[in-house]
């Protein structure tokens, strides 16, 4: 079953297009990673899914309904982000109790145990927490709500490495016990890639790639060798990334559509073929220029 369907979705913010004709489908019970650079439109997309914002044009349905002003969608979707407005007059314990009254599948026991594990004082107020602890509380909130569609927007911002690791593990464990659709947007693809099934790569408000994470790992390939040879091999290919490494040596990333025999020939020609990690590939794919930050300094 498709949980989210989106066709030609556009959202305009004061003249700038945050989302530009985006189309995608998110399947049920999958963990999807939403990856993109700052300003790619990740948060905007999640906010429209959660019913916070209204699309400018196009169509988006969540559980086959338009999420804006929709109680059914609100009851079945939770949106966790780092600017969550939690009631300032209630302490953490009271916030969790209130949430328990709203969300039918709320696991109060889990919430309390997580609160204790991450040593959050239940009598403290949310605005008195540090940035990392706020994020920790927010993800506890998101996990315990146990709704069919969980949206995490940069859930780990401010968390230290140990807490991040714990969170990923908690998420995976709870997902295995109670499979549900989860979307995580993050800058740390290398940290979450083991968690993900699918990846949705966004650039300039558009969908760039949407494929299983396993395919992404083999999507690109890096060639390194003498510049002339590299150029010869990549003549008719779209260069995803180029970098000169030392004298007369270059490193080029292209799409991996080489056949087995071509691989062999390339090796014999003196090229070094290396796999490209998904994290690097995403950076290359979403960068504005082919050479990255080096281009800025190479003008002279």
């Amino acid at each position: 079953m498709t949980v989210i369907e989106c066709r030609g979705l556009t959202k305009v913010y004061g003249g700038a297009k945050a989302l530009n004709n985006l189309s995608c489908n998110i399947e049920e019970n999958k963990i999807t990673g939403l990856i993109g650079r700052n300003g790619a439109g990740k948060t905007t997309l999640l906010k429209i899914i959660a019913g916070f914002l209204k699309e400018t044009s196009g169509e988006l349905t969540v559980f086959s309904e338009n999420p804006f002003n929709n109680l059914l969608v609100s009851a079945n979707v939770i949106f966790i982000h780092d600017q969550m407005n939690l009631p300032t007059s209630l302490n953490l314990k009271e916030i969790l109790e209130t949430a328990a009254s709203f969300y039918e599948n709320w696991d109060h026991d889990l919430a309390n145990r997580l609160l204790e594990y991450f040593s959050l004082n239940p009598l403290q107020h949310h605005n008195g927490l540090s940035k990392g602890m706020k994020s920790t509380f927010n993800v506890i909130f998101g996990l315990a709500a146990r709704v069919p569609l969980t949206l995490f927007d940069e859930p780990t911002s401010g968390m230290d490495a140990a807490v991040r690791k714990d969170f990923y593990r908690a998420l995976l464990k709870d997902y295995l016990a109670h499979p549900r659709t989860i979307i995580i947007s993050s800058h740390h693809l290398n940290e979450i890639e083991d968690l993900l099934e699918d990846i949705l790569l966004m650039k300039d408000g558009k969908e760039l790639l949407h494929l299983p994470i396993a395919d992404l790992k083999e999507w690109g390939i890096g060639l390194q060798g003498k510049t002339a040879i590299v150029d010869e091999w990549t003549q008719n290919k779209e260069l995803i990334y180029t970098k000169s490494v030392g004298f007369d040596q270059s490193y080029v990333v292209v799409r991996n559509d080489f056949s087995e025999s071509e691989w062999q020939k390339a090796r014999i020609a003196g090229l070094e073929l290396t796999p490209v990690t998904s994290s690097d590939l995403c950076v290359y794919l979403t960068s504005k220029t082919k050479g990255g930050i080096d281009d800025v300094f190479n003008k002279g």
Binding site: K54, L71, A99, Y103
Partner: protein, 249 residues
């Protein structure tokens, strides 16, 4: 995971219970503002004096009218406060849509107005007690707590209506300000400008007429209808305006 079905009534009820708890600060400010009004009332809310030769007569009236006025102002401000981003966006952490959020706000304001109305009437007794002990030569209208229960309930009820009317007005103004900050300047400017303009012309203007329309109504039934219709219009307008409002932090 199967979808959870929810009903509007159920969500509004849960939101209302949540708001009673989360907005409890509102009632603290009610206590504070009423005590302040009681203090101001100690100087008398009206009076007259005359003197002839070596005689001097001074008459002062004490009543809860100051408390009622302060409570109306409190209702107005409370309604504006709960339309602000900090409060409005809180709802979106839990299950909500714009209609249920507005409805639970109105039920909350109704509750606050009822409490405000009853406590304003009760403050009469506090004023009586203080005046009796602190000010000499007083004539108390009545010393029993419930000498005229009808009067008490009627007073509470009409005070409640006045407060709620101000809540509805505040709710609309608060919503307008949320839509465009320009209203935060425009509305006070129009109000005070209107007052000054009326004063300069020396005759009754819109604001004075509007005031008389509600405050000079002798019939309770007519007054009730006026309040219900006006508050209904103000609130519906606020609902319609906020129904397309986005959640931005």
């Amino acid at each position: 995971m199967s979808l959870t079905k929810v009903s509007m009534v159920d969500v509004v009820k849960k939101q209302y219970l949540y708001k009673l708890k989360a907005y409890s600060q509102v009632f603290m400010s009610l206590i504070f503002i009423q005590l302040l009004a009681v203090l101001f009332s100690m100087n008398g809310v009206g009076g007259l004096g005359s003197s002839e030769g070596s005689f001097q007569i001074e008459i002062k009236y004490f009543s809860a009218v100051m408390v009622v006025a302060f409570t109306m102002l409190w209702g107005f401000i409370t309604a504006i406060i709960i339309t602000t981003k900090a409060y409005r966006n809180d709802d979106f952490v839990f299950v909500t849509n714009r209609a249920s959020s507005n409805l639970s706000n109105i039920v909350f304001l109704l509750t606050a107005s009822i409490i405000g109305g009853i406590t304003s009437m009760l403050s009469t007794y506090l004023i009586k007690v203080i005046v009796y002990y602190l000010i000499s030569d007083v004539s108390l209208k009545s010393t029993s707590v419930m000498s005229a229960p009808n009067e008490f309930f009627l007073g509470s009820f009409s005070t409640f209506l006045y407060i709620f009317l101000f809540c509805a007005l505040g709710y609309l103004i608060g919503t307008l300000v949320q839509i465009n900050k320009v209203f935060a300047v425009l509305i006070p400017a129009a109000f005070f400008g209107g007052l000054i303009f009326d004063g300069l012309r020396g005759n009754e203007g819109v604001i004075a007429k509007g005031f008389n329309f509600f405050f000079m109504e002798p019939s309770l039934t007519l007054f009730l209808i006026k309040v219900i219709v006006t508050a209904g219009l103000l609130i519906s307008f606020a609902f319609a305006l906020s129904n397309r409002m986005e959640v931005r932090s």
